[in-house]
Symmetry: D2
Subunit: 388 residues, 4 copies
């Protein structure tokens, strides 16, 4: 029966049926012109969602992790130095990938719940007179902690130091749900996947390369074939992929972009802010706190909620699944057991969100937390009602 | 975006995707054995849902209204007298059909919100010494008022009078959601449709005929062809319909029965009672009253909720649709503008119900009713939580 | 595996996936404006397909048989005289319905394989000086024999006699596949269903009433409720049905009309003629004959093919199903065992038709008929190739 | 309209609707036990299809090309020597990948249309006394030329030389359609994708690693993260992927395996042989020749057909698409313009194949080739008829 309920994991999201049906295609000849009519609107649409005029868009049958690997292997060589902060599980994993690919990784560790350390980045970049740092990596929205970082700030640090490093941004759980400005922020590679803001199943790595990043590929010597953007580029010029494309997913992406643009990109962002704000009102009504340490860090796509000392937050997720057929997200890594997560990205309605908050309340009360039933729902309703 | 929200009309219900996909069939040869493998499990399964050992089941490409017409035209002749009470829009419509088919209709009018007048039936039947009454009609669950009537009581009235009249029961909004005992209650024709307890789209009239009702067809002279059960009977014997069958809907019905029996018929009823009870707790928390006049009349498939004098209840339905993308039911006939209805039948979850209650609260408060946000949701949560 | 093959029964047809998906809808509130946006385009589109400016279109959750009953019960009274010819199973069934509804049926029997007897109709109508004949019934395309009749000719007979009888035409297997001119031919009621030219599952009766037929409803006394066009009319005025509408099927009908009109109605007819002509070339190459007795009678939606004396034509259908997973149509009634039928209506391609002809050849050779493999396919290819 | 016709490209195949629907899933929590119930049957089922008792199965959200990269990067280090023959476009591309990953590639070029040069492999391996060759690569079925190679023979060459090299086999267009014996043939890594024998959309790389290949991963130093089988292994142990899994495709794979095993793996192979043989009879009837140079090389999943000198074979594919809405495969690389390809893998029926042959005949005749219409179809029918 659980298929009846919406999911509140921070991606994959609840898929609008229109998008899901767009992926449900019979086999076509992927070398026929029909595929070109799917491919190019996807590339153009992703570029618009990234707010870029000129980015080279590449879409691989892969996931966001593949997008990270595409970024590194197409721009860097073994031994290259990269600067990156760790403030959650996803930045941690990207660091791990850098190390496994033989990069020289300068890690800045900050507490999970904090944003990217812009001031520290600025200092390091300023000190790097010889420009040994080839790339700066940043996670826009840490899905593990519900923390949104200041990407414009990191760009500012690069600019202030007049530093030529490439700037790579993981926007997996922000792009399509929260404002992302590739050109304005001077992002060299933006990375996302299909299963978050684009409301699709997992299966696509989606990246945008600036001209500078595109140029870097010629000298980058990390080995790559599957993820080589030059093969993709040649393929696209012939309405093709260098291998068999995932036609249905691409058709779904085309549909998702149409749906986003029919609503209006800014309206999509505003809706995410509105729904997320209602959730934050509920959290406050429950007397709980977010993992994110300050309001300016609050993510509009996922809220990680701290539970009281001594309580295992994962129990909430388990009981919600087993007793109420509803999916929330567990805490990961440093905050495992300390937080549970409510994903609120994709095509949500107020009504759906209320059902999630309502179940969360029942579960927390079942588990002995001091929660007044209806309190969080009521706080969210108050906000949604005025907001509508 | 409204497709994202569940509906809370009293049918058609939210369709489980498994059932909906079962209706999504490519064309098969409906004269091939494949169709027999769909047809007979449907007939047998409906019989079990009706709690009958021997009923003759007939399924027409039609609706519940067609089921009523099947009932009348296969058992009665012009001028035959029938006894029927009017306590809501659907009993009213069945009376209208009787009149248009030239029957002599003895109507007992009771207030909308009351159940069938068992005592008055008993008196009338007792007084009908010559057995001029050929059939007694009863609506098990008045969808317009959320009133469940005492079908066993009506049977008792017939038995007490030792009256041979046929006993026809409209179970459109009860069968498959609420306990229905065709054999135990001595029902001669039970009528339902596909779009309520069977969780399908509208498009099937489903009837069960007792042996006595089956025998009546030989002498009944109301004209009929499309709805003639003898043609159906001949068709079924050859794995066919007398005309092209709605294969996909039948396959969906087969799936629905499997789903009901996998959950367990009694469990399905208990779930409906549980969810409905939560709704009734919410109504009480709101300080409102049901249209149904007494607890024993409360329907488990739909609640009709009275709004304060001078308030137009239909505004709730309109605003819920326009502002929140959620569908409730309007009041019909005598109670138009005085009640709004929350349907809670089919494959609902607690979480879905909470979203419906949450939206209802926001709408009522928007419209100036004195409703505390979260109050009804909280009352339902309290019940659902203990109940789970 | 048989789901992989197209079907060649004379309806239901192979459903284009686009249409089938249009029927695959989640539940909406059928009293909301969304339904009006489905309903009215259907009514207007059907009118255009019928080539009528003014017809009142009614769509019931039923089948073509229900459409016949709608026609009779809304326009006639018990004892009314109707004139009708029997030249196949479907005209036979309509006659049976007339008799069961107490009409005075004047039947003209002609051989199965002949068209409607226009001259005899003319003589009878001319002789009916008192206009005792209230309606003339005609089957445009006899699905059982693959015979298309001269509807304009019957209208001519009525006009020549200056006879005021209503003119009812069964266009179940012609409308949407073959040219049908309601206004030009002076048709008073045109009847069809969803599962033929409209390429949908069975489940809709679709009728068009002329003004004259619409007016007749006021004096017609045959009992009716489910099929009463006045209830429908009232419903449509409020974007509704008098009972729960089959929303998904209606949405599919809207899609089917869009698809037909995107191709162009005349192009759809021409495609049917082209594909049917290829089939007829194949039949000739096999040395077999059609049931239809003359070229002007050849149907473009179904071919009934006579097999040699002493051969059971039904064996072809059985073996095609069991050995090759392909569905053809059996002979019905007077021509049972003497013909098998190839349906070629709906959204067929040449390639699909070749697969049907290829399997028919294998089956016939398997069963000992003197068929050269590839002969019929080759004859059809020759025609399709030039025709393309 | 072309969606109505089957495709005859050598993958992706015509997807049975049952499999396609299995991929059409709503979002579930991929960290819930539900996903484990999809994952493990996939791993076990793939192992059985590979005819292995012990292979470690890994499934990536990627394509066959990603499967190649998985193979190389998990077992080899830069500078390692590999032996590989080039006899078509796909072996060519694998060689290219080896080179781009810094391997020392010893290429044996043979004519396109020939199989792998077992004798030459044997000689080279025998001569490699120091075992400098770390891996031998073999393409089981060259999709570009329709050539099936002797994998058992290559294993024999390794064994005869008592050579410890790893043995990697590309079975992308054979596995699931043609007999593949991982254990018996001593294959160390078998590679395939979702869109061929498994009848799914593209989007999965599927590999089986022998114990020996699994062990090699510990010393292999080619950089990898996305394709690292150790991360997958850890993930699987927790019913998870190291990143978001493509749940719907995995569910489709589970369904495909069930369908293959319901038919019987050997029966699936026999059906492919039967359908392919019919195609080869048609080619002979047309007076044309296969690209594959000898009967023992004939592929059962794709036939590449040589056209006469001076004729551009690609015109056949273009015209079939544009005029008849049917997809065939073009020639690639060395045989571009010289062959066209008919794919005949996946869930094909005789009837579907006849439609493909019928259209091919029309197209070839349209383009001036001396083809008798119906000749190839008739030759295939003769074979299919006896074979059925």
């Amino acid at each position: 029966m659980s298929f009846q309920n919406p999911v509140f994991i921070p991606g994959p999201t609840n898929m609008p049926e229109e998008i899901r049906l767009a992926t449900y295609m019979p086999t076509i000849d992927h070398r026929s012109p029909v595929f070109g009519g799917i491919l190019h609107p996807c590339l153009d649409g992703v570029r618009r969602v990234l707010k870029s005029e000129t980015a080279h868009i590449f879409i691989f049958p892969s996931t966001g992790t593949g997008g990270w690997e595409t970024t590194l292997t197409n721009t860097l060589s073994a031994g290259d130095k990269v600067l990156v902060a760790r403030n959650g599980m996803f930045s941690h994993r990207w660091i791990d990938m850098c190390e496994r690919h033989g990069l020289d990784v300068q890690v800045v560790d900050v507490a999970w719940g904090e944003g990217l350390p812009v001031a520290e980045y600025a200092a390091i970049l300023k000190a790097d007179k010889d420009h040994t740092i080839k790339a700066v990596l940043a996670t826009h929205n840490e899905t593990a902690t519900g923390v949104k970082s200041d990407i414009a700030g990191v760009r500012g640090a690069l600019d202030a130091a007049n530093h030529p490093a490439l700037f790579f941004v993981d926007g997996v759980s922000s792009i399509g749900s929260m404002d992302f400005r590739m050109d304005e922020w001077g992002v060299d590679v933006a990375v996302t996947g299909s299963q978050k803001g684009f409301m699709l199943p997992a299966g696509l790595a989606i990246v945008g390369f600036s001209e500078k990043a595109r140029a870097a590929v010629e000298s980058a010597t990390l080995p790559r074939t599957f993820f080589d953007i030059r093969d993709m580029e040649k393929g696209y010029a012939a309405n093709a992929f260098p291998y068999t494309p995932p036609v249905g997913l691409m058709n779904g992406l085309k549909c998702a972009i149409e749906m986003i643009e029919a609503e209006g990109l800014e309206n999509v962002f505003a809706r995410h802010t509105r729904i997320a704000t209602g959730v934050r009102h509920a959290v406050e009504a429950w007397g709980l706190e977010l993992c994110a340490n300050a309001p300016e860090l609050y993510s509009d796509s996922v809220s990680a909620i701290r539970t009281p000392e001594g309580f295992n937050a994962t129990d909430i997720v388990t009981r919600a699944d087993e007793q109420y057929g509803m999916a929330f997200g567990v805490g990961l890594g440093d905050v495992a057991g300390k937080v549970f997560r409510i994903g609120h990205l994709g095509m949500l309605t107020d009504a759906m969100m209320l059902s999630g908050l309502g179940v969360a309340e029942m579960v927390m009360k079942d588990l002995g937390l001091d929660i007044k039933l209806g309190s969080g729902v009521g706080a969210a309703q108050e906000f949604y009602r005025y907001g509508s």
